[in-house]
Symmetry: C2
Subunit: 229 residues, 2 copies
Amino acid sequence: MRHPLETVSKKLGLHFKNLGLLKTALTHRSAEGENNERLEFLGDSALGFIIAECLYQKFPDADEGTLSRLRADLVNEASLANLARALNLGSYLILGSGELKSGGYRRDSILSDALEAIIGAIAKDQGLDACRQWVLQLFALRLAELSLQNWKKDPKTRLQELMQARRLELPEYTLKAMLGEPHQQSFCVECRVSALAEASEGIGSSRKRAEQQAAEKILLKLSAHSETV
Amino acid sequence: MRHPLETVSKKLGLHFKNLGLLKTALTHRSAEGENNERLEFLGDSALGFIIAECLYQKFPDADEGTLSRLRADLVNEASLANLARALNLGSYLILGSGELKSGGYRRDSILSDALEAIIGAIAKDQGLDACRQWVLQLFALRLAELSLQNWKKDPKTRLQELMQARRLELPEYTLKAMLGEPHQQSFCVECRVSALAEASEGIGSSRKRAEQQAAEKILLKLSAHSETV
């Protein structure tokens, strides 16, 4: 470990009673010693609750579906990895030599897991109140940016409205595959818009969910290539 | 509402500051007025965290996969509905006339949602500490019954050991289908054992996860028809 734990704790704005927990939170399973997977389990659920509680209070008019979508937008591997990068977490990770060589400290999954593990470590070390305080500070900017306006509508609706506003053809959805037993099926739907050469696929437990996921991916691609539409 | 809210609150062992939250928690979306879906969102995540924290402490040697399985066994629609029945929750529900006629107060999904909403209402009304106390009392028996012994092993291993112990042929796994883009695939695997005429299918984001799910289903079927093996 290149940085003393006290320094890391301070840099992260934390005050661990038991610094061993911070070390565990930073230890990927590829390294020797106790790794961060148990703390990640704890942190994942603490984070889920803290964000749920915050959204519940912040948006008294949002229905359950909107709250779920807002949370999924805030708490996902890519967004957690970006927050971890802002904390410079990659340079504090304890990785096995293989992961170190292959640049594991840059990987979304490793960064996001470590961030969840740190959240779990705070919950365990200092209780949920301290954990909530740190998490809400970490998410402060993203929470401030959140506007309900864009989230009351589901991805299919938003995509349709975007296409209409730009006078483009409406998106086309095609069912590509279905599998599983009747009570537990999985649907794969393709969504295609004229503005993008490539289609996107969504997978879900209902055709509608699969369509929503595919629409969401198209929206992401469109915002990434906004010059093309 | 057949029972005054004060009575219901007392019967559930609760002390609401704001009894309106309890009323909301008991109100299904089929009824008029504010329904319990937002509180269910909050309660679901509070319950997830409380059980995660409890399992983390109770089983210091369990890895993350075991903790997840233990939690999934404790917190699922069927088990929550059973706890709701033990609390006599069905008779306190506020349902629309359609759901009332069709016996909605007996339905697993409605009961389990209402229980989660009550947990959310306690978290909102009295904070997480009071909520934790109530939830852990509710789950006390089930938590006491939990033994790590049976959970350290994953379903495939348990199924294999069961077949070996009974001198039966080992389970056969067949990949039935794969779908989705490379970074987000869905696998469907069939598991077949000689003791059962019907195979079971599992779906998962990796072949191994699909196999584990299929094995778990076979284990459930075998325990339901234990006379046949």
